[in-house]
Symmetry: C2
Subunit: 467 residues, 2 copies
């Protein structure tokens, strides 16, 4: 089929004016004025629809077309007419329209606006709606921008494993991956489950982070990144938690926490700018119907220098706010883990800027983070952005073998299990750092969509594995 995409028509409207083209797409609406009519067609190649004008005199099957239901698939041939005085820059004067696939009258997504909750029950059809065409196009453009950002800077993309026998940092509950039948599991003589009989010969889980694996590659390639799915079996049914989500984890050698923050800031700005440049129609719709302040917020983050402040100074600011009468649900004192309310106060009310908080208490952070002088804090950073709170968490890694061994012993972790990780400190260790960016949280930020279920094609949450 020699077919022109609607995106091409919008990109080169002047060139196509007067030309005969064939388009193929799905009906958004049909208006039948008896002897002429309008079909609004979308082919998914861009956010905008194409208006097709049809005349009874020109179309033998005028009535067949006029009676099609929403979402019918049509192939239309006609002349592109430039319409400088109309709202749309051109339309197609049809000379032939063929029904590729009719749509049944009970099509669940009629023109009236459906709620996101209802649309979650129609995950196979919701990409055809304006909201989800915008969200999933932006998701795709943002993913591509992330690859381009890192590849242009010489980073090596590493596919770290999904199935793992480690529990990474002990971060959160993990899903078991098994071929054992729980109705009739193999047992040892002592009566325990015999995981030697399982597929991998031991207990295996779904990864919660690729960081430790990525470090293996950073100490060979210098700069690497992962971009893949990660998992949490947390029983939390909130708008911000999914059991399966994608994560980006760069890891950079010969780099400290300051380099790490430079990288995170540059990456966020790059992705935001790319989406603003590429998805103007999608963002305009989202700003109109989902989040009024979206464009200003994105522009602000893309063009402002990020604030950098230590955890200790951040606590002081929060304590001053409490003294000045500000109420937080969670009390503030040095040593606490910052709650979302604290993070949002800092970035939204105090600084009104994206803010890096650095050098957290060692006691509330992971074992692999580099101990600062004095031993009370570690070289960690969280990036807080207005409207969402924490979007990135990272750290400089502990590269000193003796310090890392002491920390592993202190936390009563099994040093044997981390022997490979310790090897990296034995054979040419170097300062290095990295961070993790939850991709869905970024897409929520880029679109203004407030429920994580609405930025994932087929979301997995507790009790939910449909489609």
């Amino acid at each position: 089929m020699d077919r022109t995409k609607i995106a091409q028509l919008y990109a080169d409207a002047e060139e196509f004016g007067g030309q005969v083209v064939t388009v193929a797409g799905w009906v958004r609406s049909i208006r039948d004025m008896k002897n002429f009519g309008f079909v609004t067609l979308n082919d998914g190649s861009c956010f905008r629809d194409l208006q097709i004008v049809m005349n009874r005199d020109d179309l033998a099957n005028y009535d067949e077309i006029a009676h099609q239901n929403v979402s019918a698939a049509l192939i239309a041939t006609g002349t592109v007419k430039l319409t400088p005085d109309a709202p749309q820059p051109f339309e197609l004067a049809a000379t032939q329209i063929v029904v590729e696939g009719a749509s049944a009258p009970d099509y669940p997504l009629q023109k009236k606006r459906a709620t996101p909750e209802f649309l979650r029950t129609q995950q196979h059809l919701r990409p055809r709606t304006n909201l989800f065409r915008a969200v999933f196009r932006i998701r795709s453009v943002a993913a591509a921008a992330i690859h381009t950002f890192f590849q242009d800077r010489g980073f090596v993309y590493v596919n770290t494993p999904i199935i793992t026998a480690n529990d990474a940092e002990g971060a959160g509950e993990m899903f078991h991956v098994t071929t054992i039948d729980p109705a009739n599991p193999p047992r040892t003589e002592a009566g325990a489950i015999d995981y030697r009989e399982d597929f991998f010969g031991k207990k295996a889980s779904l990864t919660v982070s690729g960081q430790l694996n990525a470090e293996n590659f950073a100490l060979a390639f210098g700069d690497v990144y992962t971009f893949g799915p990660t998992f949490r079996a947390e029983n939390s049914n909130t708008a911000r938690h999914a059991a399966e989500f994608w994560m980006i984890e760069p890891e950079i050698a010969f780099a400290d926490l300051s380099d790490d923050m430079d990288l995170a800031e540059a990456m966020l700005k790059y992705v935001i700018r790319r989406v603003m440049d590429t998805c103007t129609d999608e963002l305009a719709m989202l700003a109109r119907f989902v989040d009024k302040g979206l464009l200003e917020r994105l522009e602000h983050v893309a063009s402002s220098p990020f604030v950098r402040i230590t955890y200790t100074d951040a606590i002081a600011i929060l304590e001053q706010a409490v003294e000045a009468g500000h109420h937080f649900d969670y009390p503030v004192s040095w040593g606490i883990d910052l709650q979302t309310e604290h993070e949002r106060f800092l970035t939204e009310e105090h600084f009104r800027q994206p803010t890096f908080v650095t050098d957290y208490p060692a006691a509330i952070k992971a074992f692999y983070m580099r101990l600062n002088e004095g031993g009370k804090t570690v070289a960690a950073m969280d990036c807080l952005v207005p409207g969402i709170g924490e979007i990135i968490g990272g750290s400089q890694r502990e590269e000193r073998l003796d310090v890392l061994e002491a920390r592993i012993a202190e936390l009563k972790m099994d040093a044997q299990e981390y022997s490979h990780y310790l090897d990296l400190r034995r054979y040419g260790s170097c300062r290095h750092a990295g961070f993790g960016l939850g991709f869905e949280r970024l897409v929520m930020y880029l679109t203004g969509v407030s429920n994580i279920r609405d930025v994932i094609p087929h979301p997995r949450t507790v009790g939910n594995v449909e489609f």
Copy 2:
């Protein structure tokens, strides 16, 4: 640290000539000639090493550096000297070298060549070897090329789910994903495992294909692709099977099998060309030490038109070969599934070209493939390439609701479970097609590496989930 990457030096050697720069990387070898010496340093930014010249007179810590072990991390400052008469185009005359991290003398990868089998036990260190630096750089460049190929053509990247309650096409054994403790599982009154108590409220598995999900998006966006991990719990311990591997699955609307083959051919050629243009040093090493015919093979595939032949004609060719005295282990007759020996005969001996075999018997193919006229064959295609056999499998999908329903009934599948899939045929169905490319198989093809364990950062196979 104001640091120059070695890749930058090679890219702009003339510009850097006479300049003072700082580099940071890992020692590949050290030669100490008493009053002067040479350090070969690699920083992972490119395949090539940097030769550093050091003089006892210029370096206060000359002896410290001269006694470093392989893989020590160094930071070196000096002047770039162009060396037009030497094998390497320039060297660094060091004025300062700092040990960032020493390496222990028992470093497992000394200069002598280690076998791939041994290196599989050193997955955290093997990216530092020539072989794996080449393989994993090419893997990264190929992955980026795939994204660029599809994004440049307006395809939307879709992250289809990893955890699923479907078994897709019933293709292969699946891993269970569960939070149930098999030592003490919840049971129904009848005594069966009560999956209502599991995390998702039902039995869940790791995906074997994102295709059915991708179709939901192709019928909204027109052209989409997935690129993510997929899983097989097959108990086959071969050089070509992994339990976890990445797959690319494009899906295109208003397209038939011929369009599908055009896309597959264009994609393969694009990726090969991109790797040949970008990874010349890596490919040269692989052609020298791993696969002598690599460069000719890649050039041949990148520049030849692919053959297209029906399964029926392919069987006739194989039968003629048998008559002419060619021996196959598996007998040939219409209706068989082609074995690797048959595929390789066709592409390597008969056509000596990449070859699409199309229109396979319906009985050996999946339910969703479009039935050809006559009902004996389906619009499927496999792409065979010299040196490996099948690299891509695809099909035009059955878009006709009545035909698909009849096929599901015939195969005694549960129509209710496919109600969403059938909905796509109810509400604006259209001809569409897609294919699956196993990414590791592509990387094996691009590198000449013959064991899948050596193209995956941390491979997962039966009995093996280390690192």
